[in-house]
Every structure is written in structure tokens, then in C-alpha cells.
Assembly symmetry: C2
Homo-oligomer: 336 residues x 2
DNA sequence: CTAACAATCCAAAACGTTTTGGATTTTTGA
DNA sequence: TCAAAAATCCAAAACGTTTTGGATTGTTAG
């Protein structure tokens, strides 16, 4: 509740001097600075955030908008991401405000409110889409932002994403090394950028091995993947390994295999991507790939802060290595 | 970038009138109000948040601090909670700022910063602890807050929690109804309030059935629970059902059972609590209990808004029903 | 016709900072 | 010793709103 004026009065100083003492200006004597510091500490003085923001013309706020479809947001990963970003924003003196908006009109309105109302110094866009209206809008403004994931929208902006193409190449090679020859890729809808990249990685590796790639598309959820997997696995000439674009899809495959009496990994190797918390608990535990979230959050936060500090610097594209997490769901194919 | 002054000038009105027109005061004519509205809309005018907050003396911000141990926060549930609260805060004109702090000194400092710097109109405290320094501190201030979970700290504050006692009573009865007689409860450390409540519910139900309850304590994580479960299940006279305080502990039990060659649910029934995303993917899928998060988030948000609006109203204690989610991990005990 | 009242508008103060542009005192250099 | 320079301080302006306390005009009642 204390103001800088009360503090100044109690010290017999002007508010100018108190302000400058607390802000490490050189035109206040060491003695005075010490006195002010001590008094501020003792009285628990904190500058009123609204006042300083108004005067300084900045918000000390960064914003992230959760794209919540029908009020839900079933993405356990993001809480870790937020937790990892938190300390960096705190250290830099920024508050992170978290908003929610369903994709669509409402979403863009939310972004407009942030930008036009000057409610944030920077924005984090997550779950990039191929044709992303958020990115298109932000490019027309001068609000600094960073994107997690890749989009087809062209323009100068910083982004961070896992190297899905390389990861799926490596994953395919791993399966090949185990002796698999008939490997099918269960792909996510090509509307997602990540889907195309992962698929490309898989197909390139197959070609390099002189094998014919085979990608089957399905919605990126457990149930649709389950249905598609039932089909694939019921076939006479079924594959010995199924490389899934996401863990959720892999869960569907595991269920389908169980139902058809196929043993994993003896009869079928399964791999996913994301390393969801659930993937350590499936039976057998799922082999998967992971973009380490702690690092990612940290990097994303630093990228945004950098963007805010020097908006004219060249945006960076950080494509990060994805880690292969090998668990029990893959093995050499049984020789029949 | 537009200010109210520019808008006023462009209309040939005073800023007073513009401000009051936009705020539905009665002392501005309908015609003027319409003109102002239209011009504001057209120019995309948004009041500067910092200025209005300074003048009004409120922040239009509510805060939640994630208790992150060693920089991580492995609690997938909270993202859903946040997603559920979001729309209600947006509707009421509040921004939600999300901070992180490791439990301990740093945590209390963070709360002081919020309170003393007047950085939020209200606070959400999650993961209440039995002796909770955050609650003790907040009670000494006049900052409105609501607590998720229960604590031993006494005082007038609003809280929301699942009725763990009742839920574990019901769960125990369900196992009894299936025919189990030798049911062991794997309890979380008694430092957590929820642990004591769940244990009480279990023990009461056992007593009511004329059976001797048996609770074994373990850290509320997978690995410790695994170790304890190995012990319990290796015993000659092992239980036919293990009721776990949390899903994570149940995962440990499932692993231990698998390793000992015990089939679930034929040889051992297992139950957990939380309904983590992973619990639908275990084999067999875990029977568990859930505090519906969408409802909870909504309720929590409304409780806080209420608390902000009328701080003198009597605080409410909302103990919510927990839903039993029956999956494949429980069955009648095999008659040996 | 006038006093009272209603309707509509506005100038200026206030919110609590930071920053500008000196003012005053002390020290230094020649 | 005196002018210049350095050190230290401060009054006042500014940030963009909202709100207070009228001022002005038009309308109504007697």
C-alpha cells in the first residue's frame, strides 16, 4: 500500500531521488542509495505496477493463448512447457498471462484485444497450423512473437520446432536395423505441417534402404487410429512394424493388436512420437520420440525475450533434435 | 495506439464525454453515445489497460502460482483446470497470470510480490498442504483468494476439494460388493490432507463391514509404490485387492503385479484416484476416481470472482462429489 | 415570465510512477 | 583564488485513463 511519495517523505528526499536510487542511477550518492534501499526494504515498498507500466509505456507482460476446442485442452505437455518458461519470464520481470480461446473468429478477436489494447509486450503462439490466421495477423502488427511448431505462412518470425523429419528417418532406420522390412507409417492428416515432415522422413529412409514406403493416413487420435490399424493388421500380408505419427495414434494401434491377438513386440513393433505421460504406462511401454520440454520452454522464453529486446534482429528458426526413447514396444521381427 | 484524446478530438467532444459514453453513463445523450460507439469501433480504440488500472486502483488480474519442484511440474491435470477457468475470467474482464515458484522461501516471496505490489485482485492456491505457509500468509492480508484442496490452516477462506473420504468409502464398498475381504489401502504420506481423508474413508468402510482395515504408507509416486507393492504382494497371505491413494501409485502396483506374475484383475484388483490420462492406457485400464476438472475449474473461477466482488461474504467450502470410473482392473476375487 | 429542474456536456484533478531539464553544492585544475 | 567540472539533488511534466464537481443549455411548473 505504500507509495514512493510516502517513502520519500519518510526519508526527507524527493521522489525523484528515491526512484533513481532504486533504479541504480549514478547521480545519487552511495550513502543515499543505501538509505533508500534500506528504507524500501524495511517498509516493503513495491512500485505500483500499473503506474510504472503506464509511465514506461510497456506492459511487462507476455501472453500465451491456449487453443481450446470446446472448452477443453487435453494437452498434458503444455503445463510442463509453461512451468519451464516461468522462471525465465520471472527473472526478466515479465508476467505470463494465460488466455484461452477456441480456434476461429473468437481466437483472432482475442489476439486483436491483446495487440490493440497493448496488453502484452510479446506473444507465444503454440500448436502452429499450416494456414495459421494467428501468424498472418501478427505479421501485420509490430508485436513481437514466437511460434512453436511450423506453419506454411511465410514471413519474418522466430519459431521453434522438433526436427520431425530427421527423427522419423532415424526411427525408420532403427526399425530397419532390427531387421524389419515391411514397415508401415500411420500418418496424421496432411493439414498439419508436422505430419508432412514426419512422413517425408520415413519415406526418405525407406527409399534409401531400397524399400517401398507405405503411409496410411488417419485422424491423429486414438479411436480413428485404432480403426485403421484393425484394417492394416487384419491383412494377410501385414507389416511387422507400425510407425505412428503420434503417441495417441500408437495407443490405438496397441489396442487393435491386443484385440487381434498379436503380441507386441514379438508379432508387431510399434513406435509413436510425443512421449506423453501415458506412454510409460502402456504394456509394453511405448517406444517413442520426444522434444525435451524443459529445454524447449526455456528456449522459447529466451527467444521471445530476445525478440522483445531487439525487434529488428533477424528472427531465428530453431529446429531442435528429437530424442528417441526406446522402450519395450519394438524388437526384431519374429522369423515366421 | 489510439488514445481516448484522439478519439475525443476526432469527434469534437471532451474526453470526459467519450469515457462516459463508452461506460454507459446516463448523462450522455443517446445520439452522442451512438456516435462515440461507432467511432470507437471504427478506429479500433481500446482503453490503455495500465492507465485504467492505475486510475481505478484495481488490476483486472488474477494469479495462480504453480508449485514447481525443481523446475518441473508434472501435473497434466492443471492444464485442463486452467483451460476450464479461462473463459470465465475472460468474460469477467480478468487476465489470468501464471507464475511458477518452487515451494519454500521463494514461493512466499512470490506471493508477497503479488500482494504487496498489488499485482492481482485475487489468487488461486492449488495443491493445498496440511501446514500451508501460503494460506497462512494470505490470511494476514486482505487479498481475496480461493484454495483447491484442503489444509489444516484454520481461518475464513473459500476452498474447493473432492470428497476423498466419501469416494474411498464408496470404492471400498465396491470392492466388498465384488466379494473382496482382504483389501489393503496403499496410502500417501499423511503430510497431505487428502491422504488422511482417503484413508479414513477406506477404514470406516472396512469397519462397517466388520473387517480389519490395513493401510500401508508410501511416497505418492510410482517407484516407491512399486517397491512397497512388491513387498505386500510377495507375502503368502497377500490381499486380493489394493486400493491406492493415487493413480501414480497404482501404476507402481501394476508393475509389481506384472513382475510377480500376478494377473490383474483375476489375481489382484487395483484401484487408483485422479484419472490421469495414462490411466486409460494401462493394461488392463485402471479403475479410478475423478474430480471432474471442467466443472471444478469453472467453480473455482466463479468462487474467486465472487470473493473479489464481495470480500465480506461468508467464504464457502465446496466439497465435490468424486466420480468412480470403472475399468478393467477390478473383478471378483478368484476363489482359490 | 421566472424559478426550478432535467439533460447534456466538460475542465481539471487524480492515480503512482519515471524522466526531463535544471539547480545547488562540492571538488578540481590552473 | 577563481572558473570549470563533477556530484548530488529536485520540481514539474508526462503517461492515458476515470471521476469529481460544476457549467451550460433547454424544458417544465407555477
Amino acid at each position: 500500500m505504500s507509495t514512493i511519495r510516502q517513502l520519500a517523505d519518510s526519508l526527507g528526499l524527493s521522489i525523484t531521488t528515491v526512484s533513481r536510487a532504486l533504479d541504480d542511477y549514478t547521480d545519487v550518492s552511495a550513502l543515499t542509495r543505501a538509505r533508500v534501499r534500506a528504507a524500501a526494504e524495511a517498509s516493503g515498498y513495491r512500485p505500483n505496477a500499473a503506474a510504472r507500466r503506464l509511465r514506461r509505456g510497456l506492459t511487462e507482460v507476455v501472453t500465451m493463448v491456449l487453443p481450446t476446442a470446446h472448452g477443453r485442452f487435453d494437452e498434458p505437455l503444455y503445463i510442463e512447457l509453461l512451468a519451464a518458461m516461468g522462471p525465465h519470464f520471472v527473472k526478466a520481470g515479465y508476467d505470463l498471462t494465460l488466455l484461452t480461446a477456441p480456434p476461429g473468429d473468437e481466437e483472432i478477436k482475442t489476439y486483436r484485444r491483446i495487440v490493440e489494447g497493448r496488453r502484452a509486450d510479446g506473444i507465444i503462439v503454440v500448436r502452429a497450423r499450416r494456414d495459421d490466421a494467428r501468424i498472418r495477423y501478427l505479421l501485420t502488427t509490430d508485436t513481437p512473437f514466437v511460434v512453436m511448431g511450423r506453419s506454411d505462412v511465410v514471413g519474418d518470425y522466430s519459431l521453434l520446432d522438433g526436427d520431425g523429419m530427421k527423427a522419423f528417418g532415424v526411427a525408420t532406420e532403427r526399425l530397419l536395423a532390427l531387421g524389419h522390412r515391411h514397415i508401415v507409417h500411420l500418418a496424421a492428416p496432411s493439414a498439419f505441417t508436422f505430419s508432412t515432415l514426419r512422413r517425408t522422413g520415413y519415406e526418405a529412409a525407406m527409399h534409401a534402404a531400397g524399400l517401398q514406403p507405405c503411409s496410411v493416413e488417419s485422424a491423429a487420435e486414438t479411436d480413428p487410429a485404432y480403426a485403421v490399424a484393425l484394417h492394416i493388421l487384419a491383412d494377410e500380408n501385414r507389416p511387422t512394424a507400425l510407425l505412428c505419427a503420434t503417441d495417441r495414434m500408437a495407443y490405438g494401434v496397441l489396442r487393435a493388436a491386443r484385440e487381434l491377438g498379436l503380441r507386441v513386440p514379438q508379432d508387431l513393433s510399434v513406435m509413436g512420437h510425443d512421449n506423453l505421460p501415458a506412454s510409460g504406462q502402456t504394456d509394453p511401454a511405448l517406444t517413442t520420440m520426444e522434444l525435451p520440454l524443459a529445454d524447449t520452454g526455456e528456449r522459447l522464453a529466451l527467444m521471445l525475450l530476445e525478440r522483445i529486446k531487439t525487434p529488428d534482429a533477424k528472427p531465428v528458426h530453431d529446429i531442435r533434435e528429437v530424442r528417441l526413447i526406446e522402450r519395450g514396444s519394438i524388437a526384431p521381427p519374429m522369423t515366421l
